[in-house]
Symmetry: C2
Subunit: 106 residues, 2 copies
């Protein structure tokens, strides 16, 4: 460690867990990291999710600043959902935890 972990770190970690620990959030971010942009692409990459669930989670991810919704003014209108830089950084920040889990979680 670079220094002692403080109570404030604990709170920060729990705030992040409150976001990523919610059902479907991890797989949706993963789908975005794999290049999903359209609603139907997310649905295909997140097996088992229903349309209303995916709609809700995409809205929540926008509220967290992790997904950016873009409207392309074509006919018909097209919607794209892309990971924000903050979401890409979150995925990077989770990698050490994934590595730890691989070797230690039981």
């Amino acid at each position: 460690m670079d220094g002692p972990i403080e109570d404030e770190n604990c709170r920060r970690i729990l705030r992040a867990i409150e976001i990523i620990g919610v059902r479907w959030i991890g797989p949706i971010l993963l789908a975005g990291a794999r290049g999903a942009r359209r609603f139907t692409e997310y649905r295909r990459l997140v097996p088992g999710i229903s349309d209303p669930q995916l709609t809700l989670r995409l809205k929540q991810l926008q509220a967290h600043g992790l997904i950016e919704r873009t409207v392309i003014p074509s006919t018909p209108v097209q919607i794209r959902y892309a990971l924000t830089p903050g979401a890409e950084e979150l995925i990077s920040a989770l990698r050490p935890l994934s590595d730890w889990s691989e070797h230690h979680a039981r």
Copy 2:
């Protein structure tokens, strides 16, 4: 990122979250990182926890391989609870997530 995040990473991250997302676990690990060894030292560093709750969490942390319990054969017997190397690595692995949360979580 060093590479695409995979489903297996997702599962690993969720396994880690299942451990650290449980109530009191973060503050107890934090207490151990701050040098707590005796039951009473943990209790003092984790405000609001009851003795039965602390007993249960220490047992769970032992089952996860994150706390090592040592019996010192003095009179009376003394018990020490120390973080394992795996727990120290977990705390290090959580630091990027804490940093991310500081700048992005909302």
